[in-house]
């Protein structure tokens, strides 16, 4: 599996290690400010709103809606075989946005406003990418 994956991987460093460790454990961790209560994304050691350095890691619900979507017909490096593929900005329930991709759904069916939930793609033994799928109605 490690030798198969040819796409760009994140360079993980101290400030964001907990996020990626969380993903590996199939949890979506966000930074939340203890001083003003706001969440932010991408994770930082401080709150970009009030600049407090008193921030904690909080497990996100993993649910959100598609804020915008584009279907790429020209690939990024490493994505040639995936064309066309979708890129989305997901607005999480906690109020922050993150980039991802919607899986288990045809590209044309990925729509703005669609409810999605996180799934985890263990692309290498070290790296798991949080992705999203449409929320299915339970009977």
């Amino acid at each position: 599996m490690t030798t198969e994956y040819k796409k760009p991987l994140p360079y993980i460093h101290a400030e964001t290690r907990a996020y990626w460790e969380g993903a590996k454990a199939h949890e979506l961790l966000l930074r939340k400010c203890r001083a003003c209560g706001r969440y932010h994304f991408y994770p930082r050691d401080f709150c970009p709103s009030c600049f407090s350095f008193d921030v904690e890691w909080v497990k996100a619900s993993g649910r959100g809606t598609v804020y915008s979507v584009t279907v790429c017909h020209r690939p990024a490096e490493g994505f040639g075989k995936d064309v066309p593929y979708n890129i989305v900005l997901v607005e999480l329930e906690e109020g922050v946005r993150m980039m991802s991709t919607v899986v288990e759904c045809a590209n044309d069916d990925v729509l703005i406003g669609m409810a999605v939930e996180v799934v985890y793609d263990d692309v290498t033994p070290e790296v798991t990418l949080p992705k999203f799928r449409p929320v299915r109605k339970t009977n």
């Binding site: 460093h13 994304f41 991408y42 790429c72 900005l89 980039m99 790296v127």
Partner: protein
């Protein structure tokens, strides 16, 4: 009038050779554009004491100054992307007003088309570990710039019902202007249907929603009001400027339908004491059709969400009610990577009445707006002639 209004003027402009220049480096093009702009101004290189440049090579600015043989008293290499040169105008006027320099050269060139063919590679570097985009966007297949602008276009369509045909109006208008410009790369007729039939790049943006890729450079010379009135050509007064940036990564853009032109424009209009209805010629950064539409709204030429209807009926085209991108813009004239300097060159020529077949009648005021990065930075410059 604002503190910087009419304190300085653009007195010389020129582009270098444009299009495809496989036998020239970007440095050669900068020297060529600078030489022509000095001729245009009736000034000598020794008059330059303020130096403004932007480029992707490490410490490019001081390299360019060495190459040109300039030792400036004031130097600025602000690099917020394609809007750099609108930022530079504001900084130049501020420096001139403060007496830190008297005559500023703003210069730039890139050769992405030739670099691709001669396998030089661009000096553009990304991928430093600390870049959040590398960590949180690139692993999902994001690349800059088409998908990032496409995400903004999609959101605008969703919120306001903007259509692909409305975006195509912008590309068609640019092509009509280009057909009147001998320097433009793409001069053949283009219809809305042609735009809608061009290959899909990243939904909803098609090939003809996207700017060209060419080689080229430009130079702009700014000097004091006292000096400007004693030179050969009509001074192009700098009436108002503004600059802003709101994010770097598209994930960090606060609202995908609002660019920082909202903030740079407000300050520029306020400084100039003008409003959008006072502007005769618009030169808006057109990396993509959506870029133009968002700027029209954010600069106040139409309300937010109305951009699609505003551009219908070829309003931006020759003979339209709101002439815009009168050289053909990045969509049909040329785009070298950072288009902002060409906005200033075209605006100055329009205000001097030098544009021949594409001259906008009785043009007295112009607004240039540069956009850089993924709709990240905006620099507004309002110009006028007596």
């Amino acid at each position: 009038m604002g503190v910087l209004t009419r304190k300085a003027a653009i007195v010389g402009v020129s582009e270098s050779d444009l299009g495809y220049t496989p036998d020239k480096t970007s440095l050669q093009l900068i020297a060529q554009a600078t030489n022509r702009a000095l001729d245009d101004a009736g000034l000598k290189k020794s008059d330059i004491d303020g130096f403004f440049s932007a480029g992707w090579i490490t410490m490019e600015s001081i390299m360019v100054a060495e190459y040109l043989g300039i030792q400036p008293a004031y130097s600025d290499n602000t690099l917020p992307g394609g809007s750099a040169f609108e930022f530079h105008v504001e900084h130049a006027v501020a420096a001139i007003s403060a007496g830190l320099c008297e005559t500023a050269l703003i210069c730039y060139a890139e050769t992405p088309l030739s670099d691709r063919k001669r396998r030089m590679g661009r000096s553009f570097t990304t991928g430093a570990p600390q870049e959040p985009e590398e960590q949180f966007e690139i692993p999902y297949g994001q690349w800059v710039p088409v998908p990032t602008y496409a995400l903004a276009a999609q959101r605008h369509m969703y919120q306001y019902g903007t259509t692909s045909a409305q975006l195509a109006e912008i590309a068609v208008a640019a092509r009509k202007w280009a057909s009147l410009n001998p320097l433009a790369a793409m001069r053949d007729p283009l219809s809305i249907e042609d735009v809608l039939a061009s290959p899909m790049m990243s939904t909803p943006l098609r090939l003809r929603d996207c700017c060209l890729v060419n080689d080229g450079g430009g130079a702009v010379i700014v000097t004091t009001a006292e000096r400007a009135v004693n030179l050969g050509k009509k001074p192009v007064w700098i009436l108002g400027c503004g600059e802003s940036h709101t994010h770097r990564s598209i994930t960090g853009m606060p609202d995908l339908t609002v660019t920082p032109a909202k903030f740079s424009g407000q300050r520029a209009f306020s400084m100039a004491g003008l409003s959008p209805s006072d502007i005769d010629v618009l030169e808006l950064y057109d990396s993509f059709t959506i870029t133009v539409l968002l700027q029209l709204e954010d600069l106040g030429f139409c309300p937010k969400g109305e951009g699609g209807r505003f551009v219908e009926g070829q309003r931006l085209a020759p003979g339209g009610l709101q002439p815009a991108n009168t050289g053909g813009g990045g969509l049909s004239c040329l785009h070298t990577g950072m288009f902002g300097i060409f906005l200033l060159i075209e605006a100055a020529r329009q205000l001097r009445g030098e544009c021949g077949d594409r001259q906008v009648r009785e043009a007295k005021t112009a607004l240039c707006n540069g956009i850089g990065g993924s709709l990240a930075s905006s620099g507004t410059v309002i110009l006028g002639v007596d």
